[in-house]
Symmetry: C2
Subunit: 437 residues, 2 copies
Amino acid sequence: MAGRIVLIGLGSNVGDRAEHLRVALQRLGSVPGIAVVRASAVVESELVGDGPAQGKFLNAVAELRTNWPAVALLALCGELETMAGRVRPAPRNHPRPLDLDLLFDGDLHIDSRELVLPHPRWHEREFVCGPLRELGYDLAALPKVERPAVIESPVAMAAQCSRWLAGGCVVGLVPTMGSLHRGHASLMELARQECDRVVATIFVNPLQFGPGEDFAAYPRDLTGDVRLCKQAGVDAVFAPTVAQMYDPEFCSQVAVGPAAATMEGALRPGHFAGVATVVARLFALARPQRAYFGEKDAQQLAVIRRMQKDLGFPLQVVGCPIVRETDGLAMSSRNVYLSAEDRAASTVLSRALASAQFAWQQGERDRDRLLARARVVMAAEPRAQVDYIELRRDVDLAELPAGPVADVRMLIAARFAGGVRPVRLLDNARLGAGSWS
Amino acid sequence: MAGRIVLIGLGSNVGDRAEHLRVALQRLGSVPGIAVVRASAVVESELVGDGPAQGKFLNAVAELRTNWPAVALLALCGELETMAGRVRPAPRNHPRPLDLDLLFDGDLHIDSRELVLPHPRWHEREFVCGPLRELGYDLAALPKVERPAVIESPVAMAAQCSRWLAGGCVVGLVPTMGSLHRGHASLMELARQECDRVVATIFVNPLQFGPGEDFAAYPRDLTGDVRLCKQAGVDAVFAPTVAQMYDPEFCSQVAVGPAAATMEGALRPGHFAGVATVVARLFALARPQRAYFGEKDAQQLAVIRRMQKDLGFPLQVVGCPIVRETDGLAMSSRNVYLSAEDRAASTVLSRALASAQFAWQQGERDRDRLLARARVVMAAEPRAQVDYIELRRDVDLAELPAGPVADVRMLIAARFAGGVRPVRLLDNARLGAGSWS
């Protein structure tokens, strides 16, 4: 009988475990087009991962010869599990009368929503490795799936995401400029929960830096960044060079209107066109269904939401809460450039926001009196040079008339000049959005 | 046994046909998780469609009860066909010992590269309809797939394309402003050959019309357009209103640099930003792998190619040859507004190009002498007011210095004022690109 060699893992920890494994192999072999070539001896193992207290597993690995496509084998395995009495849906890691996993399908690589081959964790499981060794396999020669993949070329990135899309995956994108901290990790962890595949991008985008700004000096640490991405469960890190992102004849620009004109847009001409252009390019390349941005750059988030709506990218822009140091300073890659004195003084932004927040909780709703509360706090810190303190409509950061306000966000930008280079810090808070310390 | 009811069609026209059908049903019923509930009597039928001379088919329809996913049943059917002696790959419509088709899977609609359910042509086949009636089905109550789907909402369009992408389909996009003619049909037919699903868009885009231009008067005929799309095999027609494409707060713009500054760009300020913006929006919404544009609007094609590269849309922009009337006039939706006299005179553009083409074939390579050939022809037609005659580098329409040239395209624009409204005509040709009449 012709066909590919497919390796499957079998497990059982409920009832007559050996009988469950025996019946499963007998049923597999009775299916037209499938032959069970051989099976390992059974081994006993504890549950891997979390789960309620339960009995040990009996495990084995079997070699099938078949022409059946992997997706049909997967359905068949699910059906055999059901026939053995397994209930679906069932909580994760509950006791199972039968658990069948596809491990390898010849040299085939599959990376779809339902099925990843080779099995992504086979090499971490002794109850798979042991039986494989017994069957004579050289474990070092068997293929592994490495995560995260580190991808430099935009074409390769687009191709990887295309394969995931064609496999039915929900792809989550986390665009960053690298130099990652816990704030970034929180975006990736949320993406990990909500998506089938997570792509983090690391690219210091020259288009969004002005002539006198810190493009060259922006902190960079790809090795550390990849390590953090791995810990956060990222599937691919896209880290192109500037030349790979923008060819010599690159000349298009995505311009966003009023949302980009004030605050950061007024102080950094061209900044938001650079942001909108690179984010549009990342959306176009990766075609994610969800994209994650921190609320720390609240105006950037508003600009990106507008661009996403206007150009029609069919994805959800997800804004994530600011992550703070224990003393309240919002996390930022540029914080490392603060002098010790400026670092101590830098909490003034979060204190100013907290002061407005407190006034709000006391019932204050007047625009200018809320602003005055924050201004008083900022003015008391001579190391901070305030660029702006603004109170804006939360949903799109539109300006508000004087008088009573509702659904507002306060935004502050200030410069600190005491370190090796001047540092601008941004912070913001939705007033009335619960307490934060 | 629980499960969904799945209807399959069986056919055979080689060997012991009844035995092939009987064995197939017996093998299906022996697979864990699949029960054959009942089968129709067999009926005899001729081959449908083209193919070599061959024997008649024996057909039947069977009802299965199963929990298997449809895609796994499809793979199983393929395996059973192979076991019956069917060779793959085989030419289309050759004799088959066994042919299994999924017809219905409960109420499920599937529209992937491998599988469309309900079967898109079940109702056209008496060898399916007869057995279904025999099994007691009310054919009028069974679902049909209507093509093309006419879709107005951008969200619905994006969702449809998402389903196709997740099903592994290659999606081809044909953006148009409607008022379709044979030129458009040629784009759709090429897309039909090269893609799994074809989306035609019909949208007269206000962003690309200047204040004094013919936005309101641009010809519109959705009913006729949908008819042409159906004939060309289009799967979905996307025909949004202006309000659906651009919400009241829409404010983003995609600007393209030098390629958009001369010729049409100089005469129609803002035109190409409008084109680049709407095409970027269509690319973002539909996420096609291929997009088709006519070469008649050669500069538009160059602008779109630049935008596609710069924003990184992972798709192939396909330029398609100009389709002409028998007298040489390039097809255009605006041709209908030419007066009879202007219509007769309008061949001057293609004659001017032909004259330059003839000079090229005679060995002329000098930029200005080639231009002079075309100018002489245009000047001889007083009804045509020339906007420009240009010779540009073919690949990106960059300007060329005086002297000898290679790989060039000649572009002409002229106005005709004799009809109910003035009409601008465009035409162009790659010099040396074979003869055309």
